[in-house]
Every structure is written in structure tokens, then in C-alpha cells.
């Protein structure tokens, strides 16, 4: 009855393979159900013109990256030089500032009036783009985070790859590093351009 000795071994080896694969996966990377769907609608103020609002429709016609970020987000600061490089390479990046004041653990937004919150947010974003450079072809500001819920945003930075028809093709979670761009994201960006 040799199989009695073989079966536990096979089961054990099966578990080794299962764990070897399973523990390498990042549980923080939740697949987005929005892939293949039109980018959700929102109406948000533009950074350059706070009194006017825009919808994603204004960016249609050419593919773009929708980059969700905030100045309080450390990974976004790390990512920033890479975004500047991508801008130089001709990648169209639309910025989506996420809860600039309310998301900052160091601030208590409840003490601020909506006007004061907006004023402080614009001030902080402006200062950051001045020091780090402005990689964004356009930039919208979502102070409450309500529009971000429609995009399933659960952290910063997140970057959506949106094609010329306005359909979300890919979502990258975490900062875009030169390595990640080279290994994975560049090909996805080129595919978007071919599709347009």
C-alpha cells in the first residue's frame, strides 16, 4: 500500500505550491470592477479655474492617465518625479486631487468652513506644483472624496488608464516607479494609443 505514503507527500507539495504563489500576491491589490467600463461621470472644479467645473467628457478623444493623489500622500511625492518624466515623454496625465484637507491626518477639517477648506487646499496644491513641477495636463479637485467613491478609489496614489473613448482599461495601485512603468505600464499606455 505505497500510495498511503505518497498521498500525504503530494498533498504537502501541493500546499507548498499554493502558499508559494498565494503569499506572493499582494492582498492590497483589489481588482477593479470598473475595467472595461466607461469612466464614471463627475462634476468637479478645475484647479486653474475654481469657479468652473468640468466632467470627464472634456478629456475624451485622446487616451490619458487619471492620477489620484494628494500633497499629504508620501507615495505620491515619491511618484512625482516620475510623472514629470512621463509628461516630457508625451504621456497625457490628468490629475485628480483626493481629499486634500479632509484626508490629511495632521489637520482637523471639521474646524474649517467649506470656503476656508477650499482656500487652504488650493494654496497647498499650488505650493506643491510650484516646488515639484506640474505634470498635469488638467487637474481637478475632489475635496469631499465623493467622486472618488465612484471610481472605487481606496488609497493614493492610484492611476487609471483611460482610452480615447473614455473607457477605463487598467488601474494601477500604488506609485508609478520607473521599474513598474518599464515592466508593465508602458506597454499598456502604448496599447491605449494604438487603440485611438
Amino acid at each position: 500500500m505505497r500510495w498511503k505514503y505518497v498521498v500525504p507527500l503530494v498533498v504537502f507539495l501541493g500546499l507548498v505550491v499554493l502558499f508559494a504563489v498565494g503569499f506572493r500576491l499582494n492582498p492590497r491589490e483589489i481588482p477593479s470592477p470598473l475595467i472595461g467600463k466607461p469612466a464614471p461621470h463627475f462634476t468637479l472644479p478645475r484647479f486653474v479655474e475654481p469657479s468652473a467645473t468640468v466632467t470627464p467628457a472634456v478629456w475624451a478623444g485622446q487616451p490619458y492617465l487619471l492620477n489620484v493623489w494628494a500633497t499629504w500622500c508620501v507615495s505620491c511625492r515619491q511618484e512625482h518625479p516620475m510623472l514629470m518624466r512621463l509628461k516630457q515623454e508625451g504621456v497625457r496625465i490628468i490629475g485628480f486631487n483626493y481629499k486634500e484637507i479632509r484626508g490629511d491626518a495632521g489637520l482637523d477639517a471639521r474646524k474649517l468652513s467649506p470656503e476656508a477648506e477650499a482656500q487652504l487646499a488650493w494654496q497647498r496644491i499650488g505650493a506643491w506644483l510650484k516646488t515639484g513641477g506640474d505634470p498635469y495636463a488638467d487637474l481637478v479637485v475632489d475635496l469631499t472624496g465623493r467622486a472618488a467613491i465612484d471610481y472605487g478609489v481606496y488609497g493614493t496614489p492610484e492611476t487609471f488608464f483611460i482610452d480615447a473613448k473614455g473607457v477605463i482599461r487598467y488601474k494601477h495601485i500604488g506609485p508609478i516607479t520607473p521599474e513598474v512603468w518599464q515592466d508593465q505600464l508602458r506597454a499598456k499606455w502604448l496599447a491605449l494609443q494604438e487603440g485611438s
Binding site: K4, Y5, V7, P8, L9, V11, F12, L15, P27, R28, I30, P31, S32, P33, L34, K99, R102, G103, G145, R146, I149, D150, Y151, G152, Y154, G155
Partner: protein, 195 residues
């Protein structure tokens, strides 16, 4: 069931007596222990109050919290949005409240969140073809293990002859042996082992 317990005790007794072979049973036992070691651990977290905006209507607020407890916080992952202190959990909880207040049903709210964050937000995934293994797998594995244990122990019992009764002829032979007849040595050994 009683036989299973008795068999397990027999295995343990033999193990204590140092006569345990590293065999298939031990292998399965180790696998079972390995699985039980990965038992889920629940972290009791204080309810998040600071940034919550409870509804004035207590009945509506109760429904919001009940629903919130069924939805996973995507940031902290092992907490519900009703328990978690994460910023996003507060935002989603307030979103749930707003939608309930607007007269949306529980199902509509769940669909709203699943459409944005995926089925990952459901603490109880739906039972369908993709999740069949998830729901049935543990029970199937347990049944398979119990069956293996049962059949293995039964075979061992048959081999060792425990519980086997002597038929008349064997009894007569045994009596004769005890009475002092001297058959050949091989026969003695066989007779002793079968008794």
C-alpha cells in the same frame, strides 16, 4: 463516532508508549493540525465614532450600522466599514446613511458598492459557480479527511485482528494448546497471533 474516538485514543496510547510509526495516519494528522493553525483571528476593534455622522432616525441608523457590518473596509480589509476607523470607511458609512435616507434599499446600496469596489466588499460572498469551492471546499476536505481516517483505522483493525472472535475449531485448538499439547512451533505462533 465512538469508534472514531476510541481509535484516536488507541493511536495516542501507542504514541505515548513510543511505538508509533511515522505513517500515513500521522501525515494526515499533521496536515489537519497545520490547517487548524491557520484558524481566523478576530481583532476586536472599538467602534468608530469620531467622524461618523449618525442619522437622527434611530431605526434608519440601526439599519445603516447593520448593513455596515456586512461590508468590508477595503483599506483595513479585516474590519467592516461600521467598525473601521479608516477615513474611507467613514466616507462609505456616511454614503450608506445618505442612500438609506434617500429611500434606497439595502440591496441597492450593496449593488452600488460592489459596482465600484468589487465583490471584495462583501463579507459574505454570493454562492455561485465561481465561489462553489470556497463555500463547499472546507466541508469536502473535512469529509475526505474523516473518511480517510475511518477507512485507515478500519483496515488496521482488521489487520491486527482486534475484535475478531474465535470460531469453534480455533477455540478447540487454543484449548488444546493451553492444555499442553505440543504442535509444531509455527502453528503455535500463528495461533497466538490470531488469539
Amino acid at each position: 463516532m465512538r469508534r472514531c474516538v476510541q481509535a484516536l485514543l488507541a493511536v495516542l496510547r501507542r504514541y505515548a508508549a513510543g511505538r508509533f510509526r511515522v505513517d500515513a495516519t500521522l501525515g494526515w494528522l499533521l496536515i489537519a493540525i497545520a490547517f487548524s493553525a491557520v484558524a481566523p483571528s478576530w481583532a476586536a476593534a472599538p467602534a468608530a465614532e469620531q467622524r461618523a455622522q449618525p442619522l437622527h432616525d434611530p431605526e434608519l441608523e440601526r439599519r445603516a450600522l447593520a448593513l455596515g457590518h456586512r461590508l468590508r473596509c477595503v483599506v483595513c480589509q479585516n474590519q467592516s466599514i461600521a467598525e473601521s476607523n479608516a477615513e474611507l470607511a467613514h466616507d462609505l458609512m456616511n454614503q450608506v446613511r445618505a442612500m438609506l435616507q434617500a429611500g434606497k434599499s439595502e440591496q441597492e446600496i450593496v449593488d452600488f458598492l460592489v459596482a465600484r469596489y468589487g465583490e471584495f466588499v462583501l463579507f459574505e460572498p454570493p454562492f455561485d459557480a465561481r465561489t462553489l469551492l470556497l463555500w463547499v471546499g472546507p466541508f469536502a476536505l473535512a469529509a475526505l479527511g474523516l473518511f480517510g481516517l475511518w477507512s485507515g483505522l478500519r483496515r488496521r483493525q482488521q489487520q491486527s485482528g482486534v475484535g475478531a472472535t474465535l470460531d469453534e475449531a480455533a477455540k478447540a485448538q487454543a484449548d488444546a494448546l493451553l492444555a499442553g499439547d505440543s504442535p509444531s512451533k509455527t502453528e503455535t505462533r500463528v495461533a497466538k497471533e490470531s488469539s
